[in-house]
Subunit: 345 residues, 3 copies
């Protein structure tokens, strides 16, 4: 079970050991996550089901180390732990930390690994979660690490919940994600969400991706090269209204101006990349609208009441997908299958 | 059960759906809260009783959203959740929140409603909890909202615990709250506690209220009008020492100078509204002294040891009353009655 | 059981009532802590064992009041509570507290005692935990207080975990702590850890202590006087390399420059008190290296991989020792013995 032998990403049963980058999830793993999360959601609808879930990992403790502000992702993981009976602890504010006494970040995290069975971390520095996972692999407490967002690059569990939301909604509407036309709209340069999700979509044949953004904030060429290599179809455009009627899913994003270095965002007329009430009439009846949230003005309030708006369901899906991932890391996901079968029989 | 049909304050079983304003509690509801809280306190005295309580709502998760600093109320609700087995999560510091990314407050709270089954919130803005409760009513997760203090106006659970403390202490001493003489002393203009409690006392026939404050900080005329309309007796005065010997209960409050706009508080000689050691000799032997806390200098330390000082018991009562309210919201309070009957038989 | 009759440090069964100062622990109590912590650690290795532990104090709630930043000690206590099923709550940031409303510290803590069954506190002020323990003794909720570090003087649970780490490691290597040669290295003037530990070592006959520090940061003469009075052997020196080959245990510490009043630390060449890679060859093969952490540069990274480096195990020991202490305070430690015997039989 030592990650040193297997690499840090999969354990000997083919389940994730750590969850560090979106690319570590292949199609069978994605399908298993979608399937288990759906079953868990259904189990969680009754009091007895919730009690069953809360017993699954009640002997575990998790550290949520969020060195970067994030209410949504933090609470989503927090609730996911609670659903599974895992007792959470948190370090959300660097100022209360031993770092003020000059401790290295590695030592801080190694302390967490001494007390807790799982580390869920968000960090402003790219690659930080991976560095920590490798560091822990060399110790006698190589606890699993889940990357809850690091730098501009990776936010793998957001990508997983997006896959789940796309897959579930499009299954009902058009039989699945394969062959769907999906647009990413807004700040694609710095939104790590879209970058991760775009690469995961390579596992779904026939998907066409539209990258709809002002030139200055377009998707990185590294992503496009990977899509090319995988033979995926895509379109890069700044004409939102032109592509809108073709879409099965619109994935809206906000301007990430906290990453601005020289006021890039200010020079751009981002309002052309807003989803407004009048757009609803040109959008397909069976299309869905997603947004990783938080939003500012990218989606008009009138859109919220439209049945195609799925971003609040997407938020809640995140909790179930994260609970699923944690359960898989601890290799207890098969118990969901057994309970679900009993429930259905 | 949808709050849209019934209004947001009562559910179909006559229990509170949300807890937003003191005025939503009528006498039967108050009596039920007092009765259940007392039983719960007694059940909680044994290990077995605590385990019974902790099982009642163990499948629930609560969000404590405190956008305004408050240790006492926060911890009181936190402990109340723990007593009932509810798993709490918290957002206490606006700086860690998505609001820094430009999200609306409504979206922030709607996120909480996606992950949690109950929202307990304190907010500096008057009417905020009500606005949120109505907003959630229009969504597919209309989770209950408890107002833990909003603006200068409402702090309904403080009023409930005050009613409980008055009722319990005066029951033993003089057979109940009806007909009691109760003085509110200090900053009555801005202390939301007194405003809410004063209105709730309309449900107790024969109570006479004394508003003892410097002119600049006297109780609002809106409250007096409502007391008039209900035919309640009251006296507005700045002579603390004169009324002191008549009282069954003295409710002390502190100067709320965090609401000062132009140094109002500084111009007032508030020391005339302090309860000093020498006052104890003129106070009735069976009177009680309450204070919502925190206190500064309104009550001399020598008073603490006097058997009439009930403010620390009042603090602990708050925890039990809040647990009772939460249990009623989830319609599980009848289980307290069954367990209590078994215990007594 | 009231602490007033017995003094606040021991209850009627000879177990600690509060845990305030290292000196309150005598040898029988230390031996019992070491024994129980070892059994608890072993019980905690299985899922069933963890569930047994989590049931022990599941009806209790603890307040962790940390008025001074400390991630390590905080999380250690937090995890210790979780292991025992105690539900923790925290106040870690003075700014969110009622203190901003002018409340006294005594009133703040008395509020905690109203809601919780145990108070674990860290405070910058020396003697604060003791003052609070005595204050609570006079109230009708005299809940136990654990000192998690106060001022420059006391950090008793750190001393307990150090005793545990020394005792366990030296037992295997040389049959126990008695007669061992132990050096304290670094800032001995202000490191409260060393002061407490040094005094506890008086209970272990034959131990020789070396105080290795620059003159300006040497151990206080009050400690040396107490060692003299107990007839303990010690050496005060600034020559680290000379004593190194003699040692059974090296206890490294960092410069506590947060206590600097006039830049004392800057004037000292502290690098002479670093443990460097080349020192490993002169250190006995069976010696152990400890550090209370956080560290800065006192221990070279190359040392981490050496089997004599025990500071990460020491961190984890802290969690088990704290859980043991809490269990003893609530007089439930005998259940560890029963469970352990069943396990072994």
């Amino acid at each position: 079970m030592a990650p040193k032998e297997k690499g840090p990403l999969l354990n000997h049963n083919g389940r994730p050991y750590h969850a560090l980058i979106a690319e570590q999830f292949d199609r069978p793993l994605l399908d298993r996550i979608v399937d288990t999360a759906t079953k868990m959601r259904k189990i969680g609808k009754t009091r007895g089901g919730m009690k069953f879930l809360q017993d699954l990992l009640s002997e575990k403790r998790a550290m949520l180390y969020f060195a970067q502000p994030s209410t949504r992702t933090f609470l989503s993981f927090y609730a996911a732990c609670q659903i599974l009976g895992i007792q959470p602890a948190e370090v959300r504010d660097a100022r209360t930390s031993s770092e003020v006494k000059g401790e290295s970040q590695e030592d801080s995290v190694r302390t967490f690994s001494s007390y807790f069975d799982l580390i869920i971390m968000r960090h402003p520095q790219g690659g930080f979660a991976e560095r920590i996972a490798w560091m822990l692999s060399g110790t006698d407490r190589p606890v699993p690490v889940i990357n809850a967002g690091s730098g501009k690059d990776q936010h793998p569990t957001q990508a997983l919940l997006d896959i789940y939301s796309l897959q579930r909604s499009l299954e009902i509407r058009r039989g699945g994600l394969e062959g769907a036309k999906i647009a990413f709209v807004g700040d694609l340069l710095r939104g790590r969400t879209v970058r991760s999700l775009s690469l995961l979509l390579r596992h779904y044949p026939g998907v066409k991706q539209y990258f709809v953004a002002p030139e200055q904030l377009q998707i990185g060429s590294d992503i496009l090269e990977k899509l090319d290599a995988a033979g995926m179809e895509y379109e890069v455009t700044s004409d939102f209204e032109k592509v809108l009627p073709e879409l099965d899913a619109v994935y809206m994003t906000r301007i990430q101006d906290e990453w601005d270095q020289a006021g890039e965002s200010g020079a751009v007329d981002i309002t052309k990349f807003y989803l407004r009430a009048e757009h609803l009439s040109v959008l397909k009846e069976k299309a869905i609208i997603l947004h990783p949230l938080p939003r500012r003005h990218e989606i008009a309030p009138e859109v919220d009441a439209d049945p195609r708006a799925k971003y609040w369901r997407q938020v809640r899906n995140g909790m179930w997908v994260r609970a699923t991932l944690i359960l898989m890391i601890f290799e207890r996901d098969h118990e969901i299958n057994s309970y679900y079968e009993d429930l259905m029989s």
